[in-house]
């Protein structure tokens, strides 16, 4: 908690994006999280990502469940639409919102407790439906808001602040996503914006469900020795398997790479994702091999980061369901509610 709000005065030399906005225009209210919380860094990365994507803040929808992570949408994009749902139920709300209006951009913020404990079933179905949504798990291994109990992502052997050891095996959101058919799966670290920002941008541009697991240390309850989600542990065990550059709708890419050094992924809207420095033996476009590579890494205690799987060919929810293009809010009332005669006719069809 800070005593004062962040003053509005800004650096006079701040660059502007294509909409004439600065980063400051993508900020939200003052954070009430603990000083040093990883979630605040993710907030800053989200601000940077949306600023860089030149998206108008009022055309964005931010959703969350419950937890310290669930509070964070308040701290970015104060002009965006927002929905703070029940614990673990954000995916269902997001599914409804995306279904109703496909012209907005959606970002869901969740926690490891919110997504992997209470909300696991919800998450699974949002992945399965391939809802067009950027889904960020702010993963700190604990229930931060309720004072630091182990969550479903806590590693075996990881110690709580008072010394208790976690004995239950973790659910890894990346492996979960891969096994459920997620079409965009990435992992990053709140302390590495250089990696996180382009991943967030690519996730927004991906058509379908983009799952990003972000290790986000809880300074208050899970940043001590013996924790496997602390700043220092994460830094010591982090291995980047791909280094992504998000290239916004650029016909030509400037830097040139030797074959094998880089993999380009063309996004559906013409954007380009360039993966540099791909680790040897790793191929993010091959789901099965990616799964094997990552589970092996996990066994060795490695935190593998970067874009871990992407599949631009899969159909997202609207295409599968054949929903109407026009946002429901823009449909004429007669089309949206065709009247009892139309309902009768429909019901006749089921007889």
């Amino acid at each position: 908690m800070s005593w004062i709000a962040k003053p509005r005065i800004a650096h006079p030399g701040l660059p502007k994006n294509a909409l004439g906005l600065t980063r400051r225009d993508y900020e939200g209210g003052m954070s009430t999280l603990c000083a040093g919380c990883g979630h605040d860094s993710i907030t800053a990365a989200i601000i940077e990502a949306f600023y860089g994507l030149n998206l108008p803040p009022h055309r964005i929808v931010k959703l969350s469940g419950i937890g310290c992570s669930g509070k964070t949408p308040t701290y970015f994009l104060s002009q965006a639409h927002g929905f703070n749902g029940v614990h673990g139920r954000m995916p269902a709300i997001a599914t409804g919102a995306v279904g109703a209006n496909r012209e907005l951009t959606y970002v869901g913020i969740s926690g490891d407790g919110d997504s992997l404990s209470i909300g696991l079933g919800q998450l699974a179905h949002a992945i399965r439906r391939n809802v067009d949504l950027l889904y960020v798990i702010e993963n700190n291994g604990v229930y931060g808001l309720t004072k630091g109990q182990f969550s479903a992502s806590a590693d075996v052997g990881s110690k709580a602040k008072k010394g208790a050891e976690n004995l239950q095996p973790p659910i890894d959101p990346v492996l979960l996503g891969l096994s459920l058919g997620a079409t965009f799966v990435a992992r990053s670290f709140s302390g590495d914006k250089e990696q996180l920002v382009p991943l967030l941008q690519a996730g927004v541009r991906h058509r379908g469900f983009a799952l990003i697991d972000v290790v986000s240390p809880c300074v208050t309850f899970n940043d001590h020795e013996g924790s496997t989600k602390s700043y220092i542990y994460t830094r010591e065990h982090l291995t980047e398997v791909t280094d992504a550059d998000f290239v916004e709708r650029m016909p030509e890419i400037r830097a040139s790479y030797q074959p094998g050094e880089a993999i380009d992924v063309r996004l559906h809207d013409g954007g380009m994702l360039r993966l540099r420095k791909v680790a040897e033996g790793f191929d993010p476009t091959d789901r099965d091999r990616a799964y094997a590579y990552i589970s092996e890494g996990l066994r060795d205690g490695e935190v593998l980061t970067g874009l871990l799987h992407v599949d631009e060919s899969a159909l997202e929810m609207h295409s599968v369901s054949g929903t109407v293009e026009t946002p429901l809010v823009d449909l004429p009332f007669e089309d949206l509610c065709p009247g009892s005669d139309a309902l009768d006719a429909l019901q006749q069809g089921f007889r």
Partner: protein, 609 residues
């Protein structure tokens, strides 16, 4: 880059732009804070420690601090530092008990000062508490030098001037009025007393002349500073209707405004160049124009027009200026114009003049007839003779004269103890955390969006009626309260402790001005290209930490636009960032940095930090 050494007092000093810009290094943020707390006496005394004449300077200072003020870089207008100084002076209580006590037992050393302006008075102020006997020779019948004779009373009321001069005289100065020193040789030879050291603070008393046709054909052509002096001493109390003031510096402003008050009805200031080259302080120019003085630019005088022995006008070339290839301005004459007038006042500069210093007594002069004076010690080429104020290197302003006086006093004290005067006593610093609670600081850290407060002026008709009506009314309480909150507390430093940092980025993310960056180190130019926001002002330093514990990157802070809001420290989970109040400890004669006169009683200014 190398890690920044913040244990060098000058690093944080430079962050405090106003203090750094002030020749006497007045602790501006702290005195503004004291004013905000209603501690006017303490604010006054804190000022007095470094600038000696807060009441005088609060009205007349050239204010080098204001263009330096960081606030200018944020909302375009500096904090009204000078006006706030006047508030402290106007509202202070009795300070006599807070002045240093003068020992009854003298130290046996005698110092002679030539001239009783701010430089000499400062020397006396610094040496008397140490037991020196100080004699000041003044050719006029009043002390104060140019502060008396050249600053009109509507800018500086005589009572204010007298009170601050008296504080020093009452310390026991042996003041010899109406006593010009006509021979340095005589002074050195003991004809006027025996001296251990001599300080020359006799100013730059010679107004520059304009040797053009007709110059000596009329009585009504005056040298500006001499004319102002005659007005100040009551020898002149009228001027003709139509007055031309030649020159556009601050003396010209004082001349034209004085003329408007003693009979001038049509007063014009004639400038050779165009407005952007004017030397006058913008606020003085503004005040003159408010008083209906007309300022004409690009008029270059060629002759005085005399008819039947009477001055009837002045002839000017109408010129345009073009910058030549060498960067110098060249004039193009477009025609000429005769401007009718009754009187002309020449205010085109002034210079030192030492007809009373013999040239064969070891005091060397350069080709322009200026004495050779050491920039650090203020000693001339003859041991034991020191110069300061305008007498040293030509016209400056009061605050520089004060600083010269402090430095010369240090030299004199060293000299009298047979210590090398080149060994200047070092500056010190004090750094104290302002942390009060988890996220609370004991200073007003929030950014206040108030705009600079406008000075209230006495109504035009009223002020032009009399020479003695002070034009500026000073800030009222509400203006003061608004203005103090504009100060950015640049003295409350963001102090970083590298080994506590866990590189969580919280400070980088929260900083409203994007001052902070965590990045791999590099050389300065390259590193400036990788900052969170572009470095716009290369004159401001980058702070660079040691290598950070987890990744060996460095914490970099561009000091340029920091508003000292303390949010970095509030968002820091480990208190690697802390807000610490910095106090520059300045050495004075006989007082090491941070020391005070032992017998000074009462509340000490700034002691509540």
């Amino acid at each position: 880059m190398k890690p920044t050494d913040v244990s060098d007092p000058q690093y944080y000093h430079k962050v405090v732009d106003c203090q750094w810009g002030c020749p006497a290094h007045t602790n501006v943020p702290q005195y503004i804070r004291l004013i905000a707390q209603g501690k006017y006496t303490e604010a006054y005394m804190l000022n007095r420690d470094s600038n000696v004449f807060p009441g005088i300077l609060g009205r007349t200072c050239d204010r080098p601090c204001e263009p330096a003020c960081r606030r200018t870089r944020l909302d375009g207008e500096p904090v009204a530092i000078c006006r706030l100084k006047r508030v402290a002076s106007d509202l202070r209580g009795d300070i006599e008990d807070l002045l240093p006590r003068i020992p009854t037992q003298k130290n046996g050393r005698r110092v002679a000062c030539v001239g009783s302006g701010p430089a000499s008075l400062t020397v006396a102020n610094d040496l008397l508490p140490l037991g020196y006997e100080v004699t000041i020779f003044e050719k006029q019948d009043r002390p104060g030098g140019l502060m008396w004779s050249n600053i009109p009373q509507f800018r500086l009321p005589p009572a204010v001037l007298k009170e601050e001069i008296d504080y020093i005289l009452d310390m026991g100065v042996d003041l010899r009025l109406n006593t010009p020193v006509s021979s340095m040789q005589a002074l050195l030879d003991g004809e006027m007393g025996d001296w251990d050291a001599i300080f020359v603070g006799s100013g730059a008393p010679r107004g520059k002349n304009l040797e053009i046709e007709g110059r000596y054909d009329s009585e009504r052509i005056h040298i500006g500073i001499d004319w102002l002096e005659s007005v100040a001493f009551g020898h002149i109390d009228r001027i003709e209707d139509r007055v031309l003031v030649i020159g556009v510096g601050n003396t010209a402003m004082d001349c034209c405004r004085t003329a408007m008050r003693i009979g001038g009805t049509d007063v014009k200031v004639m400038a050779r160049k165009s407005r952007e080259h004017f030397k006058a302080s913008p606020w003085e120019l503004e005040d003159a124009e408010e008083e209906k003085v007309e300022v004409l630019e690009n008029h270059s005088p060629t002759r005085f027009v005399i008819e039947d022995g009477e001055l009837v006008g002045m002839d000017f070339e109408l010129v345009d200026w073009h910058e030549g290839e060498d960067g110098r301005l060249r004039k193009e004459v477009k025609g000429n114009r005769i401007i009718p007038c009754d009187t002309v006042i020449l205010a085109i500069g002034q210079e030192t003049a030492f007809p009373w210093i013999e040239r064969d007594i070891g005091i060397e002069f350069n080709e322009w007839d200026e004495p050779l004076v050491d920039k650090a010690t203020f000693q001339c080429t003859r041991e034991g003779v020191f110069f300061g104020g305008d007498a040293a290197w030509g016209p400056e302003n009061i605050i520089w004269a004060v600083e010269h006086g402090h430095q010369a006093a240090i030299s004199i004290h060293q000299y009298c103890q047979d210590l090398p005067i080149g060994d200047r006593p070092p500056y010190g610093m004090n750094l104290v955390s302002r942390k009060m609670g988890l996220h609370e600081w004991s200073y007003s850290n929030d950014y206040d969006e108030a705009q600079r407060q406008k000075m209230r002026h006495v109504q035009l008709e009223q002020r032009l009626q009399e020479l003695t009506v002070e034009v500026e009314e000073g800030f009222d309480l509400q203006q003061t309260l608004n203005e103090v909150e504009r100060c950015l507390n640049c003295d409350v430093q963001t102090h970083f402790t590298t080994n506590l940092c866990i590189e969580c980025d919280a400070c980088v993310d929260i900083c409203p001005l994007n001052c902070l960056t965590i990045a791999p180190n590099g050389d300065e130019e390259e590193l400036r290209g990788r900052l969170s926001a572009p470095a716009v002002n290369l004159a401001q330093d980058l702070y660079v930490s040691e290598n950070l514990p987890q990744t060996a990157r460095v914490m970099v802070k561009d000091e340029d636009l920091c508003i000292h809001c303390g949010l970095c420290a509030e968002r820091c989970p480990t208190a690697a960032w802390d807000m610490r109040q910095y106090d520059l400890e300045i050495p004075y004669a006989g007082l090491e940095a941070g020391a005070r006169h032992p017998d000074r009683v009462g509340v000490l200014a700034g002691s509540d930090r």
